[in-house]
Symmetry: C2
Subunit: 431 residues, 2 copies
């Protein structure tokens, strides 16, 4: 017994235990009731901004390309119903047939998705596609394969419309392996087809595999089943691959906590962080997938909640933030539906490393590639428009240090949920 | 209208549509009621085998190493409670202290986990660890780092026991980056520590990130929340990372369908295959992770259901089957808790390619590496003990052809759920 006591005492001096004297900032944490007030103000401020934004455009709708007089020079897609997709395909094929019969040959007009045809629109805070497009004639050696693949993809999508089922990109590929040769070819043309038809890829009923999970103060319906995400244990609910069967979102949360990685998600789920601070916790376990991006956008739009992001303090973390926020270049044609504007960078920010006294051994030196990526990001419009982000990124590139969310484990495994995040909320420390 | 009709008629001739005349075997499918009878017989036969197996050992427990007189020469770990793990660590450290005080120095005795120290035991149908172990002295230049890491990991696990929380391997690594240098070093010692303490890695409260999902006729509790997997929409329920908080499993399913990949899982979840044939559908989305393996084992053990596996027809698919069935070499010390014996290979089997008339363009040539892996598998005990598997694998290596589950999409996207799987069940076509 005496032995045990001595051991526990010794444990207290271990810097990785949660002794209050050692843990940075634990002593300045205010009671939860005060923090909840802070959060309520956050939601009110968030809604006031949304309201004034909509008031300034004299409508409750968000800004569109046509509001900015860009609809003639930029291209955007919309969510279409299955029957509209079906009609669009039939119309397109009739046009092609007409062209053949009139002696003008067989060709598709395909919007260019190259980066030279992309534009960051500050007013919309996302990347959009400009209006350049190229011909894809069947009777040309350089495009005969691609136009054949285009026909095949159109015919497969047409089938999906008739049957009203969802398939994966891999399923599409396997309907004709010899033609597609490898999956990148059918995937690329699939994005072409969405652009050509002017609809989102989800409208085509082609889904990517699901990766994301969600837990916390959210109730929603998945394919007709009502899901209560406060009752999903530690594992959480897998985010459905098809957003069109997700609906009826209800929540009493005050914010959405977007987490980059699984490990931090597990910590917060086990500690039921959402019971202490009403929130919805969501992660795509790394690089954001389309299903998680659509799900996040839907939550933010329908529930009108602010989104706070917890990512690693490295260029890659910021890049992930940017994909959620302004879209990936690869799918810029669909940025309106895939992006969640106004995500706040909560942490781990480069300035947190010193502020929270993260020990040197938990920081990692940035590689040459990291530093280059960081400098490239400084040139990106979506970073430049946020002076706070520029400052943080400059600090990262200057100190050449990075750190993962897990670096906080050095102060004890629960420092993240018990000190770091509550203090961030208390100090409204987001950018 | 006439146009539309003509187009639909044309569609019928498309081999990728589900015209009955074209679809192999659709015409011989019997009514579902007959198939359900087949499945009930399967469960009865499965339980009869389990009963006779337990009768022959005069107990309801499965065979153990000591039943086979192997406990002196083989090593196995058990699920231990947190307080037992805590005591085991304290005992171990006291032994070390005693050794130091008596002038014998500071050293750990670490079980070897090398493949030369592994043994396939046919009676148990899994890989176990033999009893060789090595010294890890502190006062030796080759092991000073590793013994220091061992102390650190033991101290961290001791903390987890006191706090009763779960952390990821990544969290562990980040408590002392400078010491561990890279995560493989802390991961390796973590497995050493589990072996040394004679407990499973889950007993240490260290969890891997979750990958698996489950849907279908299963109700279970996750961290106190009751989950009904028939009401999880298309996304399904994420399998919890910590099996010790999973319990109260109930089911009216007749079998467990273990699916290798996400795409097939999505198809079956959308079609609610489990409503037509009462089953539980589970996938780890590729290489099986520890959480999914533990979950599968728990389902099979508690619900006493047969497990039918749907994997790609390639050596990798069979390897995945073997990891679920007999364990991975890396974690052979814990094979008793991680493996699910008696998994039936439902498909896609090499003989299915011809039987189901999978077109040539949907088969892929095996690479040199594939063929080598296939031949290596033929030498493995867990393959050799099943003559049916040997025959299939020989066919694969001979024809040098492989195919993914998705290859069935060539007959229409729903061929898998509407023809292939029902026919497999009707014909009891598993090995």
């Amino acid at each position: 017994m005496a032995d045990k006591k001595k051991k526990q005492k010794r444990r207290r001096r271990d810097p990785s235990s949660d002794d209050e004297a050692v843990l940075p900032f634990k002593d300045i944490l205010r009671p939860d009731s005060e923090l909840l007030e802070t959060l309520k103000q956050l939601v009110e401020a968030h809604n006031a901004v949304s309201d004034s934004a909509s008031a300034s455009t004299s409508s409750s709708k968000p800004l569109t390309l046509s509001d900015l007089n860009l609809s003639a020079t930029c291209r955007e897609v919309a969510d279409l119903s299955l029957s509209s997709v079906q009609s669009a395909i039939e119309t397109l094929i009739l046009q092609v047939a007409h062209s053949i019969v009139s002696g003008n040959g067989f060709s598709f007009q395909v919007p260019s998705r190259a980066s030279t045809n992309q534009l960051y629109v500050p007013e919309l805070d996302r990347i959009v596609l400009k209006d350049k497009s190229t011909q894809r004639p069947f009777a040309h050696v350089s495009s005969v394969r691609k136009s054949t693949i285009t026909v095949k993809i159109l015919s497969l999508i047409h089938q999906l419309c008739l049957k009203s089922i969802h398939v994966t990109k891999r399923d599409l590929f396997y309907t004709d392996v010899k033609l597609f040769q490898d999956q990148t070819q059918s995937d690329t043309v699939l994005d072409d087809v969405a652009c050509m038809l002017g609809c989102t890829r989800s409208s085509l009923n082609v889904i990517a595999s699901e990766k994301g999970v969600v837990v916390g103060r959210l109730i929603f319906s998945d394919n007709g089943d009502m899901i209560d995400c406060t009752k999903m244990g530690m594992g959480g609910k897998a985010i459905p691959p098809n957003i069109d069967r997700v609906g009826d979102m209800q929540s009493d949360a005050l914010f959405i906590l977007l987490v980059e990685k699984d490990a931090a998600y597990i910590r917060l789920a086990e500690d039921r962080f959402y019971n202490r601070f009403p929130c919805i916790i969501v992660t795509a376990k790394g690089q954001p997938d389309v299903a998680t991006r659509l799900f996040l956008r839907k939550m933010k739009t329908e529930l009108k909640l602010p989104v706070l992001a917890l990512v690693d303090s490295d260029p890659y973390g910021l890049k992930i933030l940017s994909v959620y926020g302004c879209g990936s270049k690869n799918m810029s044609y669909d940025s309106a539906n895939l992006t969640t504007p106004d995500i706040k960078w909560l942490g781990i920010r480069p300035s947190d490393l010193d502020k929270y006294k993260i020990p040197e051994q938990c920081r990692l030196p940035m590689t040459e590639q990291d530093i280059k990526t960081g400098k490239d990001l400084l040139e990106e419009d979506f970073v430049k428009k946020n002076p706070g982000w520029v400052e943080e990124l400059n600090l990262m590139v200057k100190t050449k240090q990075k750190a993962e969310i897990q670096a906080l484990s050095t102060f004890g495994f629960q420092y993240l949920s018990e000190v770091y995040l509550p203090l961030k909320l208390q100090q409204k420390d987001w950018l």
